[in-house]
Subunit: 247 residues, 2 copies
């Protein structure tokens, strides 16, 4: 839980009571194998969950069974937060063997009632998620396969780095090529070919699940990647940009 709270504190100010309450929130640890749904499509959401280890994807599906991944969550990310304010939810699946910490919505609700600052922090977390979603939309809607892949790799690189799970030059991404295709609106075989093309240009080297980016500038240029939307190191800018904080 500490990891998640630290992440929250990067972007929002919380008083001591709020962080203590968060750290003490009740919940259960669960081990989930790859490919099993954590929240099934259409299921009414009753809990949020924190990713402790592994990789989980938020997804939607179309009638013929194909899936579109609409979000990738790495350790330290809280999933299903929007379900606190909206009755309909998303489906989630573990893309690799993962362990999660499940927190019932009603337990989170009492936190929100007692600590208004937590509400703002959660709202902000949802806004960042939406910002990522919008980027994915322009990525899928308007870029070709190479740029799409490059953009996604850049995004995951800076998110992993910010989560202190690696550096942008070397990190591990626990997703199969099939999963990457589902995230990019591509086929697994086309992901494979595209990956090869990137490798042949010396932009990325993938060995198993570990990603190396020897030429960050090249990859970022190809993917037209501008990390601003991820709000990196927002705390540092706090004196300049002053988002709303309740009195």
């Amino acid at each position: 839980m500490q990891q998640f709270v630290d992440r929250l504190l990067e972007r929002s100010s919380l008083d001591r009571a709020a962080t203590d309450a968060l750290l003490a929130v009740p919940g259960r640890c669960l081990q989930i194998r790859a490919h099993v749904d954590i929240v099934a499509p259409g299921e009414a959401p009753t809990a949020a969950f924190l990713v402790l280890d592994g990789l989980v994807g938020r997804f939607g599906q179309v009638v013929d069974g194909r899936r579109q991944i609409t979000g990738l969550h790495i350790p330290g990310d809280m999933c299903n937060l929007p379900a606190l304010v909206v009755p309909s939810g998303s489906a989630y699946q573990a893309l690799a063997a993962s362990t999660i910490f499940r927190i019932a919505n009603r337990d989170l609700s009492v936190l929100l009632r007692d600590h208004p600052l937590i509400g703002v922090a959660f709202w902000r977390a949802c806004a960042v998620e939406a910002s990522i979603l919008a980027q994915w939309l322009v990525n899928i809607g308007r870029r070709n396969a190479q740029s799409r892949l490059a953009h996604l790799l850049c995004e995951m690189a800076v998110r992993m780095e910010e989560a202190k799970l690696g550096t942008r030059g070397a990190f591990t991404l626990d997703a199969s090529q099939n999963a990457l295709g589902d995230a990019l609106g591509l086929t697994a075989v086309h992901v494979n070919r595209t990956l090869r093309a990137l490798r042949e240009q010396g932009l990325v080297a993938i060995d198993g699940r570990s990603v190396h980016i020897p030429n960050w500038a090249g990859l970022a240029t190809l993917g037209e990647f501008d990390e601003t939307y991820l709000l990196p190191g927002m705390r540092a800018n706090a004196a300049i940009e002053r988002p709303w904080v309740p009195a």
Copy 2:
């Protein structure tokens, strides 16, 4: 302003003081012509704005100048709300001649400070927007042109109906085929061909800017449209689903 408050009340409970404060919030009316940016790409957001008339699009762009529309806002929609909690914002453009009511972020902030219920209502509005975004992502990522168009038309139909600006069988959508292409990740000419195909199947009839849907069931089936994600008539379900409300 009344229209927006009514919309908010559909989904959230606000006390009398909060609605009065919202109705009295200061702002300026602006007339915007088609194709002019309301918020330019990269511009730091300093205000939210309510659409009073017309149609405005949220968008991102890629280097070669092509655009991807990431949100369509009809009269009664409040734009740029996430910018209240997050420093980076989106770009917005009027897709048709529009009139908007611009509200400075700092004026909105004092509302949030004085009325916690408004914060929850805004958070919820952002969550619905994100939910739409996720749907668009699966739409663009995994469906062909006909299904995409059908889905978008269905979505706008129920949103227009809910805003009391028409019925799902007949409403007016002030977007050019070019704009539709930008929203769907398609070319204007392919939108044209796809529209013709839908017309020949008797699913839609578009005359100028007015859309008729003679076969709703057929169009919804083709677009695999399930309106749950738009939270229609959520107030009616309030007794069953109980999203969080501060004490």
